[in-house]
Amino acid sequence: MCLAVPGQVVEVEGDDPAFLRGRVDFSGVRREVSFAFTPEARPGDYVLVHAGFALTVVDQEEALLTLEELRRLGEAVEASPETAEEAPTP
């Protein structure tokens, strides 16, 4: 029930915050979404959408930073010969 899917904001329109609506692109499929809770969202942003509502604007910088760190995880350990046999097995 708490599933939320990231999509890219195409457009946001409306003046009354309770009725703020827009369209979000999910890998080519576009859906109408309420922006009542993310009035700060702008075209090009990624938002997490749950049951027709954009819940949060995804912090892309934070996302990239985390991924970069994780892609390097364990490299220092793998580089040392005595722990090399502990390298990950898929």
Binding site: M1, T38, G52, T56, T66, E86
Partner: protein, 368 residues
């Protein structure tokens, strides 16, 4: 898909698995709260990547599973009224109430088969639109969910009020996560040593409540996302804390969760709902664990409008969903699992919902 595929990268998952193996020196039991996390763990086979001592038990984070049988009975009774268009998320349709099928419609799907106008909607705002388009009918929306879903339901009520709709109401079955975690961690049977907190609930509510729970019960709590990389990183962060003898709140899901949550969403919930005691199916009454409409929005309450007050009922004896929802038993340990109880003919809600632990085990073939 951007911001999804990167978090399914098998190389990163393998690095995290190796990290967990290097970090864990003894057995630890972790619980993921959210049913969406359970499904991702089982579907992606993440437990097989963990060292044998690290056990994941599955939490009560499935709103459909914990909606009391008497509320399903009330929904079925309201849906059967000729003037009503009953709207719901698809998940709720198969969940049986307290009646056996021989006694009449047990689930909303049975009510529909018997002629009731039951419609699946994607969003609560769709139900508001149906009400606006059908002034001669009463449109009822089954408002089931946790903190993630509550703002949308609050907004539906605010829109209905703004539009002056007198033919729209909601049947409220809202539950709150922190009081349930508090009850769970306080139980003498509890063997959970660390928690993965539900990431999407925290996008709304923030993480302050979870910091308090972590301090109160001295357990590490990691706010965690839903993709394989998120879950493995959340587990690694929790195991690191356990091994270091720490117990604090950490946020793995920082790309989506801010400490203060979502202010406009919280304001909408605060305006429309108030906290109330609520029974959880399988777990019993938990104080302060539910939401109810507050004045002046009580006129949108379907129970008040139709007088179909829920009567408390006993759950079916064969189903052990209460133990499963508390993490005390696993689905395959239930004698009815995959025999008497299947997704087509479920005895309990965890076999129905796309987030139920029993459905996850059934669909992805996990038996041990």
């Amino acid at each position: 898909m951007k911001l999804v595929d990167e978090y399914r990268d098998s190389d990163v998952v393998a690095r995290l698995a190796a990290g967990i193996r290097r970090t864990a020196t003894r057995p630890w039991t972790l619980m993921e709260i959210c049913g969406g996390q359970t499904h991702s763990i089982v579907k992606n086979g993440l437990e097989a990547l963990l060292p044998p001592g690290i056990e994941l038990v599955h939490g009560p984070g499935c709103p459909v599973c914990v909606t009391p049988a008497e509320l399903i009975d009330a929904a079925v009774a309201i849906a059967a009224r000729p003037e009503v268009i009953f709207t719901s998320y698809g998940d709720m349709l198969r969940v049986p109430g307290s009646r056996g099928r021989a006694e009449g419609p047990a689930a909303l799907l049975d009510a529909r088969a018997a002629g009731a106008d039951v419609r699946v909607v994607y969003s609560a705002l769709d139900a508001v639109q149906i009400a606006a388009a059908n002034p001669g009918r009463q449109v009822v929306f089954f408002a089931v969910g946790f903190e993630t879903t509550a703002p949308g339901h609050a907004l539906a009520v605010l829109q209905a009020a703004a539009l002056g709709l007198e033919n729209f109401s909601i049947l409220v079955a809202h539950v709150l996560v922190p009081p349930a975690i508090d009850a769970l961690l306080g139980s003498p049977e509890c063997r959970v040593q660390a928690l993965l907190a539900p990431g999407h609930v925290c996008t709304i509510e923030g993480s302050a409540e979870y910091a308090r729970l972590s301090a109160r019960w001295k357990v590490p709590i990691v706010v965690t996302g839903f993709e394989p990389v998120d879950l493995m990183e959340g587990i690694l962060m929790a195991v690191r804390q356990l091994e270091a003898g720490q117990a604090r709140l950490e946020n793995q899901y920082s790309r989506a969760v801010r400490a203060g949550g979502n202010a406009p969403a919280r304001a909408a919930v605060e305006r429309v709902f108030e906290v109330t005691d609520r029974p959880w199916r399988g777990l019993g009454m938990i104080a302060g664990s539910g939401l109810a409409l507050r004045e002046p929005y009580r006129k949108f309450d379907a129970v008040a409008r139709f007088g179909a007050g829920p009567e408390p009922v006993q759950d079916d004896g064969a189903c052990i969903s209460g133990l499963i929802l508390q993490g005390l038993k696993k689905p395959h340990e239930c004698p009815a699992f995959a025999t008497l109880c299947t997704p087509e003919q479920p005895l309990g809600a965890p076999m129905v919902s796309s987030e139920g632990a029993c459905a996850a085990y059934y669909h992805f073939g996990r038996k041990v």
